[in-house]
């Protein structure tokens, strides 16, 4: 960087009243009566998934400001995590590679039917399955649900527990939920891994426009909210309207979220309709783009704008995976002007509504193409409602369920002045008195995911296999990647706490402490330790689980509940602490 350029950057930063990235953060924790340790513990609860043993002291020593600056940079080396992620081969594959390797039984069966190896009329199911598994072995194919049940969910847990870049993981959880998609959607499910990996995680500390654009163009979102099948509304079809094809029917055909009894995929793809082109606008993505992703429900748009944005986005589609893919690839290779490909995103000019449009009062002349959609995303990013809406959601996540409006305004101001720089917005939040005033209240309820991960971090879990744990997320009300509506999980305490889920939280703690969740070993709980008294166990584990806090009240309550003749008192102490009201909050 030349000196002159650096000066310009600094001057701009100063003029805008925004701290440049290399400036020291000013964290007013002392003004709120917090010690360095308390500040460190609070930061680790809010900007990380909780403290590991010794981490509060470490952060206090290096200085909370420095720790947070590192987190906002988000580029600490992560060797330990990288090693454990080797258990998830899909993380290194392209979408096309995954598509080729993680396949449903139905797809293999259709291949074998064509080859004459399987004859459904003559074979029983067992024989068919045998042929299928032989084929799998021969070609190194894996089950499709391993991709989203095992690898996607498994890597989320591993990263949250072990990553040094904790804020990146916290924000990945936040932004995924903001731009929610779900593996329960047959069309989206096999794309969710790359969605999080490519569209969300690399962009959580970048510009809002970048993450917005990446989600808009990702097949997971394009399928989930139907933009992949949205086309110009006219002309009137000559024949009867054709049915919607079972979108890439090889990828659907599951029974959509029921916990058992899958019968496999469609036997045969539907006979291709003679008239492949299906006209018809689908407004689902356009509506949620404004209502949920940018402006907010009262952000100042009309139903008319929804329709116009949907028209703007016609032709924003995904590369198919059936025979149509080769055909498109060929056309692109031949320099077709009708197609613009970016990875798995493809703009199809022949599906695009080329007539004039008006979005939020701005005119779009007839004859436009992909640039219309980019322009709408620019407009939405710059709109003041977006700055306010995004700031509100971040403040709700990082401060409390009803964040103070004055702070939201300051965050929104940073958002507007920095062109939606998400790290700068987080810095504004962290430097506010309002943020630090929350430290002693601990009024934000942990999501089930936060509860689990903070438990695993505090007790130094060795997660050998996270699969046995997954059903706990369901029971506690947060099935990972399983929230159906585009809103994402609601982020307030009432939505997490009901009669069923609160009991499940207590049971989770008991099962973790008693070693009844397979695949997990707690390094802070020695397996042969029988010697701790209740007092010793309380001293040790309340410091680990509720660091830098006054735990005298809860300690006496836990003590009361443990009979003097109980065996392995430390297990009971951990169970009670994990299930305590205090540990449900951060």
């Amino acid at each position: 960087m030349t000196l002159r350029f650096a000066l310009v950057v600094l001057c701009c930063g100063a003029l805008l009243g925004v701290a440049p990235a290399n400036a020291e953060l000013q964290l007013p924790y002392k003004a709120e009566g917090l010690s360095k340790e308390q500040a460190a513990a609070y930061l680790l609860e809010r900007f990380a998934f909780g403290a590991r043993p010794g981490e509060v002291e470490k952060v206090a020593q290096m200085g909370p400001e420095k720790w947070l600056a590192q987190q906002l940079a988000g580029n600490l080396p992560d060797a330990e995590l990288d090693k454990s992620l080797e258990a998830f081969p899909a993380l290194k594959m392209t979408q096309a590679e995954m598509q080729a390797i993680y396949v449903q039984n139905g797809r293999i069966r259709r291949i074998l039917e064509r080859q004459g190896v399987i004859d459904a009329a003559k074979m029983n199911r067992k024989e068919m399955n045998q042929k299928i598994s032989v084929y799998r072995k021969k070609h190194g194919l894996l089950a499709q649900n391993a991709l989203y049940n095992k690898e996607l969910r498994g890597q989320k847990v591993m990263r949250a527990v072990y990553s040094e870049n904790q804020l990146v993981e916290v924000l990945t959880d936040f932004w995924f939920n903001h731009f929610n998609v779900t593996t329960r959607d047959g069309g989206a499910r096999s794309h969710v891994l790359t969605y999080e990996r490519d569209a969300i995680r690399p962009n959580v500390l970048g510009k809002f426009r970048t993450i917005l654009g990446a989600t808009a163009k990702h097949p997971a979102m394009l399928y989930y909210l139907d933009n992949a099948q949205s086309r110009m509304a006219s002309p009137p079809p000559r024949n009867q309207p054709r049915p919607k094809q079972e979108v890439a029917s090889g990828e659907m055909g599951m029974d959509g979220g029921m916990d058992g009894g899958m019968m496999g995929a469609p036997a045969k793809a539907q006979p291709p309709p003679k008239n492949r082109r299906k006209y018809g606008l689908n407004e689902n993505y356009a509506r949620e783009l404004m209502e949920l992703h940018t402006l907010g429900v009262d952000g100042g748009y009309t139903q008319g704008d929804v329709t116009e944005v949907a028209r703007v986005l016609t032709g924003w589609a995904a590369m198919p995976y059936n025979n149509a893919r080769k055909n498109l690839e060929k056309q692109i290779a031949n320099g077709s002007k009708r197609l613009i490909r970016e990875g798995e995103f493809v703009f199809r000019r022949d599906w695009h509504d080329k007539k004039a449009k008006v979005v939020l009062g701005e005119k779009f002349p007839a004859g436009g193409g992909i640039e219309e959609g980019e322009r709408v995303l620019d407009m939405l990013t710059k709109h003041p409602s977006t700055a306010h809406f995004i700031s509100t959601k971040l403040a709700r996540r990082f401060i409390n369920d009803n964040p103070p409006e004055a702070l939201i305004e300051r965050m929104a101001k940073t958002f507007r002045k920095t062109d939606g720089d998400l790290a700068a917005v987080m810095a504004t939040l962290s430097e506010s008195r309002e943020f630090w005033a929350e430290a002693k209240k601990r009024s934000k309820m942990k999501s089930p995911f936060e509860l689990v991960v903070s438990s695993l971090r505090a007790l130094e879990a060795d997660v050998k296999n996270s699969q046995p744990m997954m059903s706990w997320f369901d029971r506690m009300g947060e099935p990972l990647y399983g929230y159906v509506p585009p809103t994402g999980f609601p982020d307030y305490a009432e939505s997490w706490a009901n009669s069923g889920t609160l009991i499940a939280r207590m049971n989770f703690g008991i099962h973790l402490a008693t070693g009844k969740i397979r695949g997990i070993e707690l390094k802070q709980l020695s397996q042969d330790s029988t010697g701790l008294t209740t007092d010793e166990a309380l001293a040790m584990y309340s410091k680990l689980l509720l660091p830098a806090q006054d735990t005298s009240a809860i300690a006496s309550e836990v003590k009361e509940s443990i009979p003097a003749d109980a065996k392995r008192k430390e297990v009971q102490v951990i169970s009670m602490l994990l299930g305590s009201p205090e540990f449900q909050y951060r």
Binding site: E113, D255, S575
Partner: protein
């Protein structure tokens, strides 16, 4: 909902507590309770819903056995009435019940069971996910709807509820229950409670420890919710969820659905304030070797009809309070496919069971002959009845929700209720 602990304990709950201690037969103390305490929750109307995930083939469940066009379209799957091995139950001279649904035939003949055929969604999606989402959120074509239709229905009941007002016997909260009204979702009521693995004796002590801890918590939300939770646990113990004996003659199959319906019956009969229940059964996505009298369809149908029949017998005198309704996201193709199965279609059928149901009838419209020109998109049983019009009639009439609230139950829908209740 601010559920009042005191009101609940004074109501049905307390009656049960004393019943189990004093040895008074349940029904007596319940009757006494209802007579003495007009505020008791006892004998609320209950709507029980079963979602058949995967899209049930309505044309096999309730088959138009005279239709030569169907016979032609399904050379291996059509079931002839005249073939004795099929054991079809002729319902009305035109439609017959699949043999594995035979346990429902007596209920149909008694006029308690109604069938609506050709029912489905106005949205043409043939994706399981989208169609289930629309059927549960109650707004076909609109994905952004935050709440589920059953949660909205509960919100329209106009009176206080107990923690057991809205219960899903499922592993995770179903989409139909999303919303601000509290619901319990639990796979098995026996697991609702504090569990200490390998040491059930310790559970009570741990539970007391948590109860005390939460009772003193300054976090008002969890303090209140935990109080509800521990009362609910206690209540489940009192009503004997672990050693429940169904009424004589009620033979539930030993399957997930059988157990779930059995537990719903227990909740109904225990007057704990249940008003809306939801459960589900999977495996209806019969693309391959659907079978006729044996096979994947037959196994699911058998489980379902036996479960429902046992549930109904088990209810005994509570039958008057309960309506059971089934639903499935869409139907299947009229033509069989190359793997002796059927693919995703449009219209299917559903069952409504209750003493206030216009039963013993097949409602709705199915084309006389299922020839291509009569089909939706030339391939599927046409959707002639919007599922919302049936749901609105069943929920509305049974739970006493006024017609003027239908628009709140099904936002954006301005249709008429489809008359299936008396």
């Amino acid at each position: 909902m601010e559920w009042s602990r005191r009101a609940f304990m004074k109501g049905s709950g307390l009656a049960l507590f004393s019943a189990s201690f004093g040895g008074t037969p349940l029904f007596l103390s319940r009757a006494a309770d209802a007579a003495n305490n007009p505020l008791a929750h006892s004998r609320r109307k209950v709507l029980v819903t079963i979602f058949q995930r995967g899209a049930m083939d309505g044309l096999m469940a309730v088959t138009p056995f005279n239709d030569p066009a169907l016979a032609e379209a399904r050379p291996n799957l059509f079931m002839h009435l005249t073939d004795p091995k099929n054991e079809l139950t002729d319902l009305d001279g035109r439609f017959a019940l699949h043999p594995s649904f035979a346990d429902l035939a007596p209920l149909y003949k008694e006029g308690r069971l109604a069938i609506v055929h050709g029912v489905g969604s106005p949205n043409k999606t043939r994706s399981h996910f989208d169609a289930q989402d629309y059927m549960e959120n109650g707004t076909p074509g609109v994905k952004g709807t935050r709440t589920g239709w059953l949660n909205r229905a509960v919100g329209l009941l106009g009176h206080e509820g107990t923690p057991f007002r809205s219960v899903a016997l499922t592993r995770a909260l179903p989409r139909a229950f999303y919303g601000k009204e509290p619901s319990i979702a639990v796979d098995d009521l026996r697991s609702f409670g504090i569990q200490v693995p390998n040491n059930p004796q310790a559970a009570e002590q741990v539970e007391e420890g948590f109860e005390a801890m939460y009772a003193r918590s300054a976090k008002r939300l969890v303090q209140r919710v935990s109080e509800e939770s521990f009362d609910a646990i206690e209540l489940l113990e009192k009503i004997g969820v672990r050693d429940y004996k169904p009424a004589e003659g009620a033979k539930y199959p030993n399957t997930a659905l059988g157990r779930r319906l059995q537990q719903i019956a227990l909740l109904v009969k225990s007057d704990v304030g249940l008003e809306v229940a939801f459960t589900e059964t999977g495996g209806w996505d019969t693309h391959v070797q659907q079978g006729t009298t044996t096979g994947s369809f037959q196994r699911r149908a058998d489980e379902m009809s036996k479960s429902i029949a046992a549930f109904w017998t088990d209810l005994g005198t509570y039958q008057d309070d309960v309506v059971l309704m089934t639903m499935t996201e869409f139907g299947r193709t009229v033509h069989q496919n190359g793997s002796l199965g059927t693919d995703h279609g449009r219209g299917s059928c559903l069952f409504v069971l209750g003493n206030n149901v216009d039963g013993g009838k097949i409602h709705g419209n199915v084309p006389e002959k299922l020839v291509k020109d009569a089909l939706e998109d030339r391939r599927d049983l046409p959707v002639t009845t919007d599922f919302r019009s049936v749901f609105a009639d069943v929920a509305g009439k049974h739970l006493n929700i006024d017609r003027s609230h239908d628009i709140a139950m099904f936002p954006g829908w301005e249709g008429e209720r489809f008359k299936v209740m008396t």
